[in-house]
């Protein structure tokens, strides 16, 4: 099967995807709630900026991240805490890059799920004795569970598929920043098609399985039968 280096790269990819997605779910929950429920001036511009990673070439994003994370950017200042000169070429840097890159894929499903919750449901919970925070955890999150599942799967899948950004800010350090997609690229560059085939197949099957699980689950949910 895969060689040790590829297993390691796959592990870095998975770790990156999980860490990024967990952080994004926490960040996007209040953000998506706010965007779904409020109408404020400047909101359209903010939403456009947040959706930018959908359309921007990843290399453009990667370039700005490289500048931002480098010794002369804010990333360099933060890097002091880790006794480093820069956040570029580090796992932390990759996480920051992935947060930006995958944000719209987590934000949008959550926003749609929150927008679909009827205000009446919240009113009824309020007159049933539930305070706002209680309402959020006892009603909003359970009713938005499909949105959370979609957001989580898309966040993981999209981060696993990351290439352009990682290439710019990663540096392909084994065990630290060499993710599966980059490892695959290096196999191809080196003409090692056998290993490239194996790694590509693993990524392909994993992606198909994840999306299949998501769609299957969504179908079950939409038939309206509760467990």
């Amino acid at each position: 099967m895969l060689n040790d280096g590829d297993w390691l790269a796959l592990w870095v990819s998975i770790k990156l995807a999980l860490v990024t997605t967990v952080i994004l779910l926490m960040l996007c929950t209040p953000l998506a709630w706010w965007l779904a429920r409020r109408r404020l001036p400047g909101q359209a511009l903010l939403e456009a900026l947040l959706a930018l990673p959908l359309v921007l070439p990843p290399s453009v994003l990667g370039f700005y991240l490289l500048i931002g994370l480098g010794p002369n950017g804010p990333g360099g200042w933060f890097a002091q805490w880790e006794d480093a000169r820069s956040l570029a070429f580090s796992f932390t840097g990759l996480v920051i890059g992935s947060l930006v890159y995958s944000l719209p894929f987590v934000l949008q499903p959550l926003k749609n799920a929150f927008a679909a919750i009827e205000p009446r449901q919240l009113d009824m919970a309020a007159v049933s004795g539930a305070r706002p925070m209680d309402r959020f955890f006892s009603l909003v999150i359970p009713q938005a569970r499909q949105g959370y599942a979609t957001a989580a799967i898309l966040g993981i899948a999209h981060t696993l598929g990351e290439f352009g950004v990682v290439l710019m800010i990663g540096g392909s350090l084994a065990g630290e920043t060499r993710v599966a997609s980059v490892a695959l690229y290096e196999h191809v560059e080196a003409g090692d098609y056998a290993n490239a085939h194996r790694l590509a197949a693993v990524l392909l099957v994993a992606s198909v399985l994840m999306l299949w699980a998501l769609f299957r689950w969504q179908r079950k949910q939409s038939t309206g039968v509760m467990p």
Partner: protein, 349 residues
């Protein structure tokens, strides 16, 4: 317990300015056409809708200029027009949601029996029919252990049978918990109410005892095509041969068709639609109509082209008759005139 409020607020195009108080017992119907602000007023009382003013319930201040009690701290139970069951929970989950959050939660078994939802407890709310869902919603409102129930057109969209069933439950509940009931359906007003508030264009234009407001010629209810008077009477004998139940109103006996003797010892309510009452100068002989009673004209008013509404006194109670303006002229209907009312149909309820 009494409820007093003086509230004003703007919701979309509609400006609402209301003040009223009531000794909160039994059912008070908040009646008016769609868009008159009834639901908005109910939402204001629940604290769901921002507004200025004051609300006082018994000793509790729910809203003043300084404080505003949030909805979850008001001792209310509420039903909306739609059942609005929590979609992610089972029927049982919907009930326990409220019980967990209200200190004074009601008794689950009693409420479940009262609303007849035993068989539904483990169902998903998505599989309930309209009537079942509203019964669950009623049970949920009761389990909040409310000191006041706010019901916002809870029967709209239900068929006749389910309506009657829920109306019966609401009447029963209102013996213990005061109910404010929003509707634009005259039938529900007649079935439920002793007190009525009439709303028009964001204001309470009249309030009082239902039977008085129903027969007031200068009020909106007597202008309607289906204007109906409500009378109170005592149950009398039952004629088992002809299947007729006697009800005495102001020493006059009304005979009502009834397959069985009507049970009960409280005063019964008789509904008599104005279009089912005709007038004559002399007591007609040999009429097929069973209920013919001497009445005195209190007043009359034009209610449409060629149509007159006549308010009649039967003892200290009031009856309405809708007749043509020509008949009113030829019969010389004027206040004080002594006439006979022929009542074609009487309903209990």
């Amino acid at each position: 317990m009494s409820l007093a409020f003086s509230l004003s607020g703007q919701v979309g195009q509609c400006r609402l300015q209301v003040q009223a108080q009531l000794a909160a017992t039994g059912v008070t119907v908040l009646f008016g056409p769609s868009g008159s602000g009834k639901s908005t007023l109910l939402r204001m009382l629940a604290g769901l809708q921002d507004c200025d003013g004051e609300v006082r319930f018994g000793e509790q201040l729910w809203q003043t200029d300084e404080v505003k009690l949030p909805p979850w701290e008001r001792p209310l139970g509420m039903m909306f027009q739609e059942p609005t069951l929590f979609r992610h929970l089972s029927v049982r989950g919907n009930l326990t949601y409220v019980m967990k959050r209200r200190g004074k939660a009601g008794d689950l078994n009693r409420v479940v029996n009262q609303t007849r939802i035993e068989a539904l407890l483990d169902r998903s709310v998505a599989t309930l029919s309209g009537g079942e869902a509203q019964r669950v919603a009623l049970a949920r409102a009761l389990l909040a252990g409310p000191e006041l129930l706010l019901l916002d057109e809870p029967l709209s969209g239900l068929d006749h049978g389910h309506k009657q069933e829920l109306l019966g439950m609401v009447s029963e509940i209102a013996r213990r918990v005061p109910v404010i009931y929003v509707t634009h359906d005259l039938d529900e007003l007649l079935t439920l109410s002793r007190q009525v508030w009439l709303m028009e264009q964001g204001r309470i234009v009249a309030s009082g005892k239902a039977h008085e407001e129903l027969s007031r010629l200068d009020g909106p209810l007597a202008q309607r095509g289906d204007a109906t008077a409500l009378l109170y009477g005592e149950l009398g004998d039952y004629d088992s041969q002809d299947h007729l139940q006697a009800v005495t109103v102001a020493q006059q006996t009304f005979w009502l068709p009834a397959a069985q003797p009507v049970a009960g010892d409280e005063p019964v309510r008789l509904r008599i639609a104005a279009r089912d009452v005709s007038l004559c100068r002399q007591a007609p002989q040999d009429s097929s109509i069973l209920n013919i009673h001497p009445v005195q004209v209190v007043g009359l008013r034009e209610v449409g082209p060629g149509q007159a509404m006549v308010q009649l006194a039967l003892g200290d109670q009031r009856l309405l008759a809708r007749i043509s303006s020509r008949s009113a002229r030829e019969l010389e209907v004027f206040p004080g005139a002594q006439l006979y009312a022929q009542v074609k149909a009487v309903a209990l309820g």
